[in-house]
């Protein structure tokens, strides 16, 4: 192929891949919102889980207020309670993304194989990353609609005060967290297809421990108080983009200072700031996207060589 031909093919391939991303995102953006039942099941129902934690924190706050007469102390306790409740609402909102990554994104290629789409996708000229990218963007959009609904209802119902200190950083953290999370989902998608049904057991096994270790419902920095085991939990949790993303967002939008921030491993007194967490999230996003590309290329090679991955019943 001449250099001129190769250069002229770059815009052609770019256009093709962009079209493919839009095409694959379409069913998730349009199709998934056609069933109004999602409003109840995916936006309202998660509020029940959030409410359970909110009432615990409210009760703890009320107990701490018992006998306190100093107005400054009362304001401090109320501020902390508000921070904890805001953390829960924010975490409960982000749960939607984690569930979407785990059950929809990671297992999507497996389902595509089962319904017969995968071999049509593999036969098409688009890049395989465009296929996964379309799935991820569609998933992000679909889940954002659900998450924002939960967040708005949560803020109104539980009367929490949010104060955004750095809107640009907040947007940056949110989007990089999503890219890292969905990059992880893209990588898992290929692995789940390789492992087949066993992978679903892995998802079920990981779901609750990751809710716990990522601090969806409490400030995860609290693990540092539990010695070596707590430290190990924290180290494991920080490899999951949701942990750092949630902590950074909590630092940016919850007034009254950090609630149990994540300590820096090599220092007793320093804590991870939102800026540092943003930086780590960017690294995680790049690493997961790179790994997703590699695992997908390996999967395709295996599919063509062994012929057992893209066809149903094989």
């Amino acid at each position: 192929m001449s250099a001129a031909t190769a250069t002229s093919r770059i815009p052609h391939r770019l256009k093709l891949n962009l079209q493919a991303i839009v095409g694959r995102a379409y069913p998730r953006i349009v199709g998934a919102n056609r069933e109004p039942s999602w409003i109840f099941f995916e936006a309202i129902l998660p509020l029940l889980g959030i409410a359970a934690y909110v009432f615990i924190y409210k009760a703890l706050g009320d107990r701490a207020l018992f006998g306190v007469t100093d107005p400054a102390e009362i304001a401090r306790i109320r501020g902390t309670t508000n921070s904890l409740i805001a953390t829960v609402v924010l975490g409960g909102t982000m749960v939607a993304f984690w569930l979407n990554v785990l059950w929809s994104m990671a297992s999507q290629l497996y389902w595509e194989k089962e319904i017969g789409n995968l071999q049509l996708y593999m036969m098409a000229p688009m890049s395989r990353m465009a296929l996964l990218g379309g799935m991820a963007i569609g998933g992000m959009f679909m889940t954002s609609v659900r998450a924002i609904t939960t967040l708005v209802v949560g803020v109104v119902v539980f009367s929490i005060t949010l104060q955004v200190s750095n809107p640009l950083l907040l947007l940056g953290v949110f989007f990089v967290t999503l890219i890292a999370l969905y990059g992880m989902g893209m990588m898992l998608a290929s692995l789940y297809l390789l492992w087949g049904r066993e992978a679903f057991n892995l998802s079920a096994l990981l779901e609750e421990p990751i809710f716990f270790s990522s601090g969806f419902y409490f400030p995860v920095g609290g693990f540092a108080k539990f010695g070596t085991i707590g430290g190990a939990m924290l180290a494991f949790a920080t490899a999951i983009p949701a942990t750092l993303g949630l902590d950074a967002m909590r630092q940016i939008i919850v007034p009254g200072g950090p609630v149990l921030p994540i300590p820096v491993p090599w220092s007793q007194d320093a804590f991870l700031t939102a800026d540092v967490e943003f930086g780590i999230l960017i690294v995680l996003a790049v690493v997961f996207l790179f790994l997703a590309r590699q695992t997908l290329a390996y999967l395709e090679m295996l599919a063509r060589r062994e012929g057992r991955l893209t066809s149903r019943h094989q």
């Binding site: 256009k15 069913p27 049509l120 593999m122 036969m123 098409a124 000229p125 063509r304 060589r305 012929g307």
Partner: protein
Amino acid sequence: MDFAIETRDLVRVFKPPRKLIKRKNPNGAPASSEGPVTALDRVTTQIQQGELFGLLGPNGAGKTTLIKILCTLLLPTSGQAWVAGHDISKDPFPIRERINMVSGGETSGYGLLTTRENIWMFSQFYGVPSRVAKARIDELFKTFGLWEKRDAKVRTLSSGQRQKMNMVRGFVTDPEILFLDEPTLGLDVNASRVIRDYVEDWVRKQRGKTVLLTTHYMMEADQMCDRIAIIDHGRILACDTPENLKRGIRKDTTFRLEVDSLKSTSMFTGMRGVKNFSAKNDISKNTTSLTFILEDESPVSDILSSIQAQGSKIHYLQKSEPTLEDVFIRMVGRNLE
């Protein structure tokens, strides 16, 4: 001569999964007794541009494996293949831009999307401009009688409508080479006719369009295909025009019989003068239909005696012109079904 498809000594061997080989039964024997399966055995063929080429073979003959290799979904174990001039192993992307495939009984797409949205989505994976795709979809929907269902959700379609939608998916990208794997499987007469007519028109009325068709229906292959390859156990046994294939066995004698249901047909195997035969039982009528390819008419009396020796009554006996089915029986030694 430009070939749309060319294969040279194509071999594909499927090995059983390693975990099945490693797994042992309680007696220590391997859990899987199956060894490697040769799905394609030195397949060499050339399909010209503009040709409607048929591939006939029983289940497990290697038809789908060949199509998957040519569609770049599978690598051959050895041998080479070129599609639209590109090597399927080394250069799959230019091939993917020029081909499409439709399989019978396919359930692709998403039930929540409408039929139009579904086809539009697939067209985007091939870079068809959105406006062009929508115009083609409307035109194809009218041709295939799906216009009324254009805004229906995919999950509400019947299997026949779904297969028509799959055909639209195949044509919407306007491929140079189209692979059709049993496209009329399970469809009613009208739906099959619409598909057959459109495929024939598509190849005949445009320059350079090529179709590789696999089918179970002899009549379909006979009526549609310029050339037919008969494949069994991964080997191409014959490849020619339907007329030449039939002419090849015209010197043989073909007899068809319908008799009371036979308990056994083993006595015909190796009978002097019988080149090949097939038997098909019809449980509802309690009869057996037999087709014999004979060297000449001399074995007929032996055949009739054998049937009567089983106490079976002969309903009819007919000497006939060879059909494509007879060619198949002669080559493969059994019916397609």
